[in-house]
């Protein structure tokens, strides 16, 4: 008993001392009160050099925290335990945050660099007039494949996935909107379709895809494709860029029928304490040179027109990641279909997953 008490008091004392030390270090480095901002971002989604540069230029210290899904981010901001000053959610999460009144309106007069953003990416349905958000990166959903494993085969249509000789070869990303979305696209419907007959048709078409599906997984897709466990996968373009970086045999295509266009955007959540600093940070990230450097580091497509002029031609002219206008016209942003419809989508998705081969 005595030993136990000793053990616990030691643990308690050590944790207390550490807490004190961290606090002391933070104050001595200037991480206190007005002079810091807390940025809530996806993992490995910003060039660390740029954070240093921002700190040097403005004297504001940046605390970077990361999340791995929009849902996790939402919950943390709802709870409001940490004073996040800037967050970078995807467009559908922004609609939810708007509904739940979790965002602060942006002051455009403090964001002069907003002019650098390509007009195509401004004033989008999920945030008319960019009242609450500024685009950070964008991308698509498409097919990543390994021509070496498939005898030089190429893909250009969603319907290519239904080929008879692809038995047990395809890996899908585990998302209801993504999977039902590409089935709708393959039938030339909109991926925001709410017509139940169309959705039923899409589900039945997906059930016919079952024999070709090897697995429906999350982030593990990257590992599976890089290690050549599977030759074909349906993924987000950002993940595809990562995979191609690690395995140069892979190729990526946005099918001709159209696909999803997604955005990650900078917002100021209601939890913000340093609203002025948050604006400074957003404006800094919109700067042409900064955005160009960040794009080279992260590897996703930038919405920053001025930055694109600074990037090497082979990056900006890569039609796989910067699709030409005739294709972008066919891309659709997810609309908020409402809780009812979202539940229906998930119901169909579960039915499809339940249908074993």
């Amino acid at each position: 008993m005595k030993k136990l008490i000793q053990f616990f008091s030691t643990v308690f004392l050590v944790s207390f001392a550490l807490m004190f030390l961290v606090n002391y270090l933070n104050t001595s480095e200037g991480y206190a009160g007005r002079n810091t901002i807390t940025v809530f971002n996806w993992g490995d989604y910003i060039d660390p050099e740029l954070i240093k540069q921002f700190e040097k230029e403005t004297g504001i210290k940046v605390i970077l925290e990361t999340f791995d899904s929009n849902e996790a981010m939402l919950v943390k901001i709802q709870q409001g335990g940490t004073a996040y000053d800037v967050a970078i959610p995807s467009e559908y999460a922004i609609e939810k945050m708007k509904e739940e009144d979790l965002l602060i309106k942006l002051d455009h007069s403090k964001l002069p660099n907003l002019k650098n953003i390509d007009e195509r990416f401004l004033d989008l349905p999920f945030d008319p007039g960019n009242e609450y958000s500024v685009p950070y990166f964008w991308g698509t959903v498409g097919i990543v494949y390994n021509p070496d494993m498939l005898g030089g085969r190429e893909f250009d249509s969603w319907n290519d996935l239904w080929a008879d000789d692809l038995k047990n070869q395809i890996v899908l990303v585990d998302g209801a909107r993504e999977v039902i979305g590409f089935a709708l696209n393959s039938l030339h419907y909109s991926l925001n379709d709410t017509n139940k007959a169309h959705l039923e048709e899409a589900k039945n078409k997906l059930i016919r895809l079952q024999p070709n599906i090897k697995a429906i997984v999350g982030d593990e897709i990257k590992m599976l494709m890089v290690n050549e466990e599977a030759p074909v996968a349906v993924v987000w373009s950002g993940d595809a860029a990562d995979m191609m970086w690690e395995n140069d045999k892979l190729d990526y295509v946005v099918p001709k029928e159209g696909s999803n266009l997604w955005f990650d955007n900078m917002v100021i959540p209601k939890t913000a304490k340093n609203i002025d600093g948050a604006h400074k940070f957003i404006n800094f990230m919109l700067d042409a040179e900064v955005a160009a450097q960040n794009t080279e580091y992260v590897g996703y497509a930038t919405p920053n027109k001025a930055a694109m002029e600074l990037l090497p031609d082979e990056v900006v002219n890569d039609e796989r990641f910067y699709p030409p206008p005739e294709l972008t016209d066919k891309l659709e942003v997810y609309e908020n279909l409402g809780q009812e419809m979202l539940s229906y989508y998930n119901e169909l998705y579960l039915e499809f997953k339940m249908h074993t081969k």
Partner: protein, 279 residues
């Protein structure tokens, strides 16, 4: 007079000792269950409804419940088949505590890490396939199959099954077995009439500890089975995290809870029947 006072004091201190337990049960067991039951009667707009339960009794969810049961049953049965002989052999070894420790040791490593390790082992270019190649069997698809799902689940649950059985076996008085042999019983009869009945409680405890979590496995269904196996656990996870339809998720959770309570009751009742028979 004095004794009465002492008794009162004892009662008082006993009540004080009860407080942490009651708080614990209330906060972490009773309130969550009430919340889950409450949410199961609420639709996505926050109105009272029975629709969640109606939806549960549609073919999609019933089929899911059936598959969950089937896999949980398979996992429990295979785990038991492997664990019982293992536990039996363990009690016969010289350094049984060390052997036991070696079996339990892997369960100290995080479940997720072990699952990821299996992705590497079972992969197309993994160790297992390399071995199969060498043995001339050739490369097989191992990941994302029923086989790998059951294999990994059994691997994860084995320690939980071995422990109670080992404890029961270890407690058997050896003279009982000697007596059975002296009286002319064969090895099989001794096992059937003496050893197994004496360890039955351990087997029951082990089965409960394996069957109930196996019913709601969800992480392995994605990582190892690639969502080729869909259990009720998967559905609960989806409804809470993706759809945010907490009502439907709760309704499934209530169903799972009822099944678990039933399993406990059924495995508990048999004991009473045996007792009353004896009486």
């Amino acid at each position: 007079m004095k004794t009465v006072k002492v008794n009162k004091m004892e009662k008082k201190s006993r009540n004080i000792f009860l407080i942490p337990y009651i708080i614990w049960i209330a906060v972490f067991v009773i309130i969550p269950i009430i919340l889950v039951i409450y949410y199961s009667f609420v639709d996505i707009h926050g109105h009272f409804t029975l629709a969640n339960y109606k939806k549960f009794f549609t073919p999609v969810y019933l089929k899911m419940a059936l598959t969950s049961f089937w896999y949980a049953f398979l996992i429990t049965a295979i785990t038991l088949l492997i664990s019982y002989p293992t536990a039996y052999l363990l009690t016969k070894t010289k350094y049984k505590q060390i052997w036991l420790l070696l079996i339990i040791l892997p369960s100290w490593i995080n479940l997720l890490l072990r699952a990821y390790a299996f992705i590497g082992l079972f992969g197309r270019h993994g160790l297992v396939n390399a071995l199969l190649e060498v043995m001339g069997i050739g490369e097989k698809q191992l990941l994302f199959t029923d086989f790998s799902f059951i294999f990994v689940s059994v691997y994860i649950f084995i320690p939980f099954m071995i422990l109670p059985i080992f404890n029961a076996l270890d407690k058997i008085n050896p003279s009982l077995i000697d007596a059975s042999k002296d009286l002319g019983a064969s090895g099989w009869t001794t096992f059937r009439r003496v050893i197994f009945p004496l360890t039955f409680e351990g087997v029951k405890a082990g089965c409960q500890v394996v069957f109930i979590p196996a019913l709601s496995l969800f992480m392995l269904t994605r990582l190892i089975a690639g969502n080729r196996v869909i259990t009720l656990g998967t559905a609960v996870e989806q409804h809470f995290l993706v759809t945010r339809d907490w009502g439907m998720g709760s309704a499934i959770a209530v169903f799972l809870t009822i099944i678990m309570v039933l399993t406990m009751l059924i495995t508990g009742k048999r004991k009473r029947v045996i007792k009353s028979e004896k009486a």
